[in-house]
Amino acid sequence: MKGNVVKYERDNIDTDVIIPGQYLKVHDYAELATHAMEGLDPDFHSKVKESDFILSGKNFGCGSSREHAPIALSHSGVKAVLALSFARIFYRNSVDGAFLLPIEIEEDAYKGIAEGDEIDIDVSKNEITNLTKNQTYKMKPFSDIIGKIIDAGGLFNYKP
């Protein structure tokens, strides 16, 4: 899975900035995408491309249970969010709804990967390669249940 990185070098990116509360009434996925990250980066929608990744710090997606958050990112083209850690509901919504991959990384990847870098994520090897800088980092493996739900393509396709 290859793509370019949009980097937000900060912790606690919350659901109120990923998709502000006024859009909670909206359930059209394409329209939600136009407001993704609006509370932090109003240019996000115009700069993000299909197959891009977001890179950020600790506790990404904290706040509300709004599934609008992974939906808005996913329908903007984001295939994965790489972060030092994730808030639980955002993480589980991303996986169970098969919207995007929440990938936990270590400090080396967080520091080593810059805005615009092209990276290749190999989930089978738990490895991230920075093609721009020719560096490789480890990603934290998915837990058993999360890996199985991702492989199935979301919770509804998963057979316990």
Binding site: N12, D14, D16, V17, P20, G21, Q22, L24, K25, V26, H27, Y29, G39, L40, K58, N59, C62, G63, S64, S65, R66, E67, H68, S85, A87, R88, I89, R92, N93, D96, G97, S143, D144, I145, G154, L155, F156, P160
Partner: protein, 423 residues
């Protein structure tokens, strides 16, 4: 096993569970509101297109519905969502739908206790992150997204990783003018907004035994702001009495085993607690009120599932009685039942005499959606639970989170004020 492990073991048909076990738990109650309901319907549409049968719910008697985020409807998209929600309950035979403008309605988490919708020992999931609130009744209460709620509605169960439990022990009785909100702000200030991530935050000790059920609800409500999977208080006789006074005669005391294990134990002395605020832009950004910045406030907001229960309004009335507010102040009781009690007991008169605007129950301004959002550069003190950028309106507005007493005292002075310092 501790109380959460006991609930999840029972619900998944196991004699024993331990942290990190993955279980499929049978759900006892599920809630959707006017945001998550239409979101779930969208998931149903996707499933229908893939040939999945979504014509029947697993058990409509276990589902209840609230209208809270976008009522009263400010524009047509919100109005249409309410119509969608009404069609949903009609089509699927759900009887418990608390409708705006038709008697009892209010914020979903408030209805969960006011209407005794959830019992001790239940697995209760809701399409809202503050579902954690209801853990104060001794239930495993956890917020989920639309896909997960859709899964529960069709299958009656959902996966959970059994969480590790941190135990927050409060010793002694809180001093006057210090409220449960101050206790939970103190805890979040200490552990941070990811300090409870994936974990259970359990509250106990003599200070919790002493506390009313409503105060315990405030504690559990904001475990969400620490990232917790759930917050919980063991159900004692107070909970049983509270629920039976609301018509639920089958509630029973429900606690963990005597040898229950906890990952960490944090201890707090109630006598050392004092009024606090969380400064912009995070609930963990906590300061003592007496040391808070001397900012000119534009608004005081007393509302939400966190800070507009009856007990909260009673505390506000004590402060506002005979006083006049200096800044724009709104009080929105969290449900019609609370509104009515506030009217019957003279609280509304005190509020109106003080110059406050009293509004209908809604989540509107708390989540920056409608009914009184903040303009650019406006500063608000609020009894709600979040103060992220843009949470209550413009992205350059600011919110200080506080207890109802601090919000009321600040309404009187126009500055962030410790209620103990109010003349």
């Amino acid at each position: 096993m501790n109380i959460v492990e006991k609930i999840l073991a029972r619900a998944s048909g196991k004699s024993q569970v331990a942290p990190d076990d993955v279980v499929f738990a049978k759900v006892d109650k599920v809630m959707v509101h006017d945001v998550s309901g239409p979101g779930v319907l969208k998931v149903f549409d996707k499933l229908k297109n893939k040939g999945v049968d979504v014509s029947k719910l697993w058990d409509p008697t276990k589902v209840w519905v609230a209208e809270d985020h976008f009522v009263p409807s400010a524009e047509k998209v919100s109005a249409e969502n309410i119509v969608k929600l009404s069609n949903f309950t009609k089509n699927y035979g759900i009887e418990k739908h608390f409708k705006y403008g038709m008697g009892q309605y209010g914020i979903c988490h408030t209805l969960s206790h006011e209407e005794a919708m959830v019992m001790p020992g239940d697995v209760y999931v809701g399409g809202d992150s503050h579902t954690n609130t209801t853990g104060a009744l001794g239930a495993f209460a956890c917020g989920l997204g639309h896909t997960d709620i859709a899964y529960v509605l069709l299958n009656g169960q959902i996966w959970f990783k059994v969480p590790e439990t941190d135990y927050f022990k409060l010793n002694g009785k809180l001093p006057d003018h210090v409220m449960a909100k101050d206790v939970i702000l103190k805890i979040i200030g200490d552990i941070g907004t990811d300090g409870g991530n994936y974990r259970t935050m359990q509250f106990g000790g003599s200070g919790i035994d002493e506390m009313s059920v409503e105060s315990r609800l405030t504690l559990c409500n904001m475990t969400t702001e620490a990232g917790a999977k759930n917050g919980i208080v063991e159900a004692d006789q107070k909970v049983v009495d509270y629920l039976s006074s609301r018509g639920a005669t089958n509630a029973q005391v429900f606690k963990g085993d005597d040898d229950a294990k906890y990952a960490n134990i944090y201890e707090y002395e109630a006598s050392e607690m004092e009024p606090l605020v969380a400064k912009p832009f995070s609930p963990e950004n906590v300061a003592v009120v007496r040391e808070a910045p001397s900012v000119e406030l534009d608004k005081s907001y007393i509302g939400s599932c966190t800070g507009a229960k009856y007990e909260d309004l009673e505390a506000v009335a004590k402060i506002l009685k005979g006083k006049t507010v200096k800044i724009r102040t709104e009080i929105l009781p969290a449900s019609i039942s609370i509104y009515k009690r506030a009217m019957e007991n003279g609280l509304l008169t005190i509020f109106l005499d003080a110059g406050v605007t009293v509004g209908p129950p809604t989540c509107g301004a708390c989540c920056g959606a409608h009914m009184g959002v903040l303009a650019k550069n406006e500063i608000c003190i609020s009894t709600t639970n979040r103060n992220f950028p843009g949470r209550m309106g413009h992205v350059e507005s600011e919110t200080y989170l506080s207890s109802p007493m601090v919000a009321a005292a600040s309404a009187v002075t126009g500055k962030i004020t410790d209620p103990r310092d109010l003349q």
